[in-house]
């Protein structure tokens, strides 16, 4: 007994902050679980809204594909084409996550589906928090467990089939894995093949869940390649550089190998080349083009701005034998004729406003048929509104921070700039709404933790964790990225003046 007490007190003395942070983390995760439960009760009877209809149908069709394969039947091609590929707007990431449920319960009711999705997103969040704790430290995990882990609207999205929220969690894992690899490289450890494969897996996972992560994945891949080339320059002993490049190449192989089945399947179904999704031309046309020209004139009045143009492109494809994807590309170019830089910039600013306005905008549609809980809606809207300020602060900090204090902080600063900057390409090509911030929110949370950590360190409160000294190159990289953001912002402001 005495021995145990002694052991515990030694641990407590040697790592006092850590255990306090871990205890806090535990409390915060428990609070998240309670919040997730409450949010599920809110939507447990809510029938699928909007794109959720696609996600559920795709999961159903994928579960049937598994059934067909194990019972050695030919796959139901038309079912997969219409439900999994559909219009090619989305990659089937959340449907793949939901397939296990549909395998066991092919007729799962919406409450079961939403409960299952809540459990999956919560498990993903816990895995990400553990990795943040391991790679960046427990206080980082504590901050992320609050921002966005306790933002009601973010948690409510965790009970929906939209991929925006889980994509953000996967991106956290991608950043922590990348930071771990580059930190190891700087310390002379060549990344293992396993680390490379994991990077590729997390990257392609986030892409499947949310196709809009493509720009940031490209940025991160380039950064990882540059890091290997720079940090292992001149090192030929035992082929370290070759092995590191091999690990990186393996991540690319994993990424491409897992992307290909989708790209091939979607291209085959739609009769044109599809790499990730078909949404960029229609997105550009609908966002920046003249709506009265989208179908070389107005589209059919009985449909929506998304379904109308697709139906039209399929009619043209039927008449001519061309692929609807090709037709959509030409339609968008035609609608975009005469787009001036001023009008483009004006629309981008509008997109950013829509991106940030009403963060709890979806709470109103996400409710059950018997929902009399106006109080719940007020709670979600108010608390999300309050906690959205730290999100914005953290986001701005990520984009503007140039730190020279420590190597680790510099690495994280760059990783988060790529994470957030890559996601913010979206308002430049697609109408934005209050559904997109949940992907970016974890980057803001990590940014907040980074700034708080740097501030605490400046005051000498937090202990130095044997960090490597700051690198001048990494200061320059941060400076360049921040300058890029500033330039784009200045150009937008000038064009809008």
């Amino acid at each position: 007994m005495t021995a145990v007490l002694e052991k515990e007190s030694v641990a407590a003395v040697s790592r006092p902050r850590r255990s306090r942070a871990d205890l806090l983390l535990l409390v915060l995760v428990a609070s998240h679980l309670v919040l997730a439960w409450v949010m599920w009760t809110r939507v447990q009877e809510r029938t699928p809204i909007g794109d959720e209809k696609y996600y559920l149908d795709a999961a159903r069709a994928l579960s049937n594909l598994v059934r067909d394969l194990v019972s050695l039947h030919a796959p139901h091609g038309a079912e997969l084409r219409d439900n999994v590929v559909g219009n090619g707007w989305f990659m089937p990431g959340t449907p793949l996550l939901m397939t296990p449920l549909l395998l066991v319960l092919p007729h799962a009711d919406i409450g079961q589906v939403r409960l299952y999705v809540s459990v999956v997103t919560t498990l993903l969040l816990i895995a990400a928090l553990l990795d943040v704790r391991r790679v960046l430290g427990p206080w980082y995990a504590v901050v992320v467990a609050v921002i966005p882990g306790l933002i009601p609207m973010w948690v409510l999205f965790g009970a929906t089939m939209y991929g925006d929220m889980p994509a953000g969690i996967l991106l956290v894992l991608l950043v922590t894995r990348l930071v771990a690899v580059v930190r190891g490289l700087a310390a002379g450890h060549v990344p293992t093949l396993r680390q490379g494969a994991l990077l590729g897996l997390v990257a392609v996972g986030s892409l499947y869940v949310r196709g809009s992560t493509m720009p940031l994945l490209a940025g991160m891949a380039a950064a990882a390649l540059l890091a290997v080339l720079w940090l292992l320059r001149g090192r030929t002993r035992r082929g370290e550089r070759r092995r590191a490049l091999g690990a990186l190449a393996l991540s690319a192989v994993v990424f491409v190998a897992l992307l290909l089945p989708w790209s091939i399947g979607a291209s085959h179904a739609l009769g044109g080349r599809v790499v990730t999704t078909t949404s960029v031309p229609l997105g550009l046309g609908n966002t920046f083009g003249d709506p009265t020209l989208m179908c070389y004139g107005p589209c059919d009045p009985d449909s929506t701005m998304w379904f109308g143009p697709v139906r039209y492109s399929r009619e043209v494809a039927r008449a001519t034998g061309h692929s609807e994807v090709e037709v959509q590309g030409q339609m968008a170019s035609y609608a975009l004729r005469g787009l001036t830089p001023h009008r483009y910039a004006d629309q981008v600013v509008t997109d950013f406003e829509n991106y940030l306005r009403e963060p709890a905008g979806y709470a109103e549609v996400l409710h059950g048929p018997h929902d009399a809980a106006v109080g719940q809606l007020t709670f979600i809207t108010r608390v999300t509104g309050w906690l959205f300020w730290p999100v914005i602060l953290g986001g701005v900090a990520v984009l503007l921070l140039v730190t020279r204090r420590s190597y680790d902080a510099q690495l994280l600063s760059i990783g988060l700039k790529l994470f957030l900057g890559g996601l913010l390409v979206q308002p430049f090509v697609h109408v934005a709404g209050s559904r997109y911030w949940p992907t970016a929110a974890p980057a803001a949370g990590l940014g907040l933790a980074l700034v708080l950590g740097l501030a605490a360190r400046a005051r000498g409160r937090a202990g130095e964790r044997g960090d490597r000294p700051a690198s001048r190159v990494l200061t320059w990289v941060q400076g360049l990225l921040t300058a890029g953001v500033a330039l784009v912002a200045a150009a937008l402001a000038l064009l809008n003046a």
Binding site: K53, D57, A58, S71, E79, G86, E315, T320
Partner: protein, 157 residues
């Protein structure tokens, strides 16, 4: 070490459950996707039998119907708007002249307007506005004929 063992055992357990679930999944029944987000392309407005073209008239160039309405002025007629694809305006004009004359309709019943400023490889090339005799719904009991997605019928412009 103990932690690693626990994780490994858990991993194997999950894998085993996954294999069992996959193997048994056909016994649980089949899911029923609705394809809500990918409805079939509606039947061509001139081929669905609802508001057919005047007897003897048919178009041999690729087209899509954009709107079809009964117009009261200056005299009651049917205003049918098509877009033509992959042919230049002169070719479409020539084809229309022959097709209209075969159906006993004047050449002036069709006005061909090429799209302004489309690139050379454009699939959609221009618009044809046809002035035709009015026709009533030929299959009022068919739900297709009440579906504007298929008929492209609109109120008078």
């Amino acid at each position: 070490m103990a932690k690693v063992t626990v994780v490994r055992i858990l991993g194997w357990a999950v894998a085993l459950v996954a294999v069992v679930v996959v193997a048994l999944s056909p016994r649980f029944g089949r899911a029923e996707p609705t394809a809500d987000y990918r409805p079939p392309v509606p039947a061509d407005a001139l081929a669905n039998g609802c508001y057919p073209l005047p007897a003897g008239l048919r178009f041999d160039f690729p087209y899509q119907v954009r709107s079809d309405a009964d117009v009261a002025t200056p005299r009651p007629h049917r205003r049918l708007v098509l877009q033509y694809d992959e042919r230049d305006a002169a070719t479409v004009r020539r084809m229309l002249d022959a097709e209209l004359s075969a159906a006993g309709l004047p050449a002036g019943a069709a006005v061909v307007t090429p799209l302004d400023g489309v690139p050379a490889g454009s699939i959609v090339r221009g618009t044809v506005v046809l002035t035709l005799p009015r026709v009533a719904d030929q299959r009022p009991a068919d739900p297709t004929c009440a579906d504007p997605a298929s008929t492209k019928r609109t109120a008078a412009p």
